[in-house]
Subunit: 232 residues, 4 copies
């Protein structure tokens, strides 16, 4: 049965909170415990994110869709999934969740609860990377949704994001909410406030690229789509 908006917003908030704690917390652990090799730090961060994201989407997808990402909610609205009027509330819940999760990660690792990141990341190559990373993410999610295989999304999204941490130079934020959340932790996974707008803009450009591609690849969505999170 469909869930009320407050229930769904709670799920998006909690899921986004745990996602940010996962991404930032594992980044802090990796940076502290493997000081000698940045690649190893990223491997630890990517592996934790991939498997943790799989579990988080499984938990929250039956309630709210398990987006944790305004770019996903926006694309879902374009394709007639999420009602347009719910998009702003979803985005707000996702951003608030990611900021709270950043604070929680800082607290769990005995850092200052809030510290503004000083990691500058805004380059043209990173912007290209964020477009590629986010287009890929949207292709993964909505190819599955539009072909009646949404129940595979938790595993596919976790796997894709784990790969994208390595195959893009931006380490694939691919999510405006997590981008904003990462501003609040001056650690491995952080991003300086001055760089965040470039990332968010690239992620929104990706929505504009992915939507027509998805319409071309999957013109006729499967009649009775498996709802996201349903048992396979």
């Amino acid at each position: 049965m469909p869930r009320s908006l407050p229930h769904r917003l709670l799920a998006e908030y909690l899921g986004s909170l745990l996602l940010a704690a996962l991404v930032i917390g594992s980044g802090i652990a990796a940076q502290r415990l493997s000081p000698g090799d940045v690649g190893l730090q990223l491997l630890e961060n990517a592996a934790a994110t991939a498997v943790g994201l799989y579990a988080l989407i499984l938990v929250f997808s039956p309630v709210s869709g398990g987006h944790f990402n305004p770019a996903v909610s926006l694309t879902d609205a374009v394709f007639g999934g999420l009602p347009w009027r719910d998009v702003p509330a979803y985005a707000l819940a996702q951003v608030l969740g990611c900021v709270t999760g950043a604070v929680l990660a800082n607290v769990m690792f005995e850092a200052a609860p809030i510290s503004i990141s000083t990691t500058e990341r805004a380059t043209a190559a990173h912007a290209v990377s964020e477009i590629v990373a986010t287009v890929g993410l949207l292709l993964v999610i909505f190819s599955l949704v539009r072909s009646g295989r949404a129940a595979l999304a938790p595993a596919a999204v976790g796997a894709y994001i784990g790969a994208a941490y390595f195959f893009t130079s931006s380490t694939s934020f691919a999510n405006p909410a997590i981008t904003l959340g990462r501003v609040f932790s001056d650690t491995f996974a952080g991003i300086a406030p001055s760089s965040a707008p470039v990332y968010v803009l690239a992620q929104l450009v990706a929505v504009a690229v992915a939507v027509p591609l998805l319409r071309l690849l999957h013109p006729a969505p499967t009649a009775a789509p498996v709802t996201e999170g349903q048992v396979r």
Copy 2:
């Protein structure tokens, strides 16, 4: 068909034994073989735990539920799964299994069969981490159970725990029985007796946090839940 209590206790004992051997044994191997990088040790320990836990839950879940964890058994009782009168016996079997598994790990690696850990771990940040880690674990398990997807629990729990080793500062024990078992091995995964009560208390607090959250997120459990461990 439902299994007799002695059969179920045997399964919980054996599963907890193998879980402790897995967690502590892979910790010893990691510490000995990768002496130069603690992050790499934790990666080896986390990867082995994640995939091994998946296999162990698959093995024992059709018999006893495959809990290996008093916090899980307690929450299952709250939600009307495990009968309340079985909880103490489950917890006892789990603790005895984890202690036996610690001894087995020590023996497999030619350490003294029993050595009391001297690793102090009790800090406020670790207590917060254990609450977060255990709440997350309970959300994963019982979101799946309450939405008719219990057959996905073995993969989801393995994945979640692998992530939680990295995204919490406590390395996510998330289980009172394994916490007590780890006291008996003065190695990578060990915990000093003076620190164990803080961990156990945090894990029990997590039950009190997770139960109302789960009721809010999944108010009406699916009518015909797939029993844990059933074929998908």
Copy 3:
């Protein structure tokens, strides 16, 4: 419903593009971030490739089969899947996609858009490795297809390729299109133009070895095969 050839070629082109960006991009990241240990570089490259390939096959298989590999398309034609007349167009789309993906990887990592690899790889041991790697890949894909389990191919192919990066000395290119694409990036995953023909030849020899083996192992394909990419 069956898709038009242009749709299918678009899917093969895009999938091959993303595959090359994945393989080459994660190789560049690994080489730059883990300069001290080539094994760790290969682990990062293999892990990203394995999980990313799983996601990419899931995305494109319902449209075009998700081959991204002329050796796979050729074998599919031999077994009566892909029409013979479509094989050249598939191969062309795959090669063009992989070359474009190499350029994209270079751009994402701020390297020259095109650089010709200088990594010589042509040895007898590497040729043997490529035959073994490609025979293994074809056994995985077409054993599943011929036994009605094509829906498992995305996970199985990702897993197999991740392993083959390590168990062969050639690091398992196993794909003529990606071999040609890798010529255009003088980075970790590159291959010198003088070495590429040996690799491609070995991969085609593998088709000749794998086809009779598959006929022997699975003489009677399952009557109603699950089409690749269908929901399990």
Copy 4:
């Protein structure tokens, strides 16, 4: 439909060959490419083995069961699966396959085609480890078979073996055929001929331990068991 014995023996031979090439080949690559950290070598070896084994069992299980392991074939016979008269032929095919695979691994890495390992591994702790590792493997496989979930065996066995490489001190050979094959490669994964009998004996002791445990845990096998390798 049931397959002829020669077909099944071919499958066991080929699967065992590829298994030994996988285990030994990835061990050689790991040792050469990560000379500075034995734990990292084992992580690379374990990760490749886990995911490769998953793919190999998927390929060959519909033909022969995908055992590649005399301890598994023996246990299958005890439980009424494999006919007793086929056990010696299965074991012979498995040993010959593993020896051939060791030679292939040596050739792929430009080592002498045959070299007898000089790695002494026979200690009491290793013998205990092999018993634990093999009991665990048999519990995983036959718990799934006896509860109608054999289709999950490829993933569960790969996962379990990946974990067991780390949580036992013997690195979990858990297979008499691969133990004998490893004698023929004086590399990372090798075992000296003088140590092999201790390992094989421990693995056979494990059969005697696992069978009554499995009878106790799963007294009544599911009426219509899913045949191993069948689509889930």
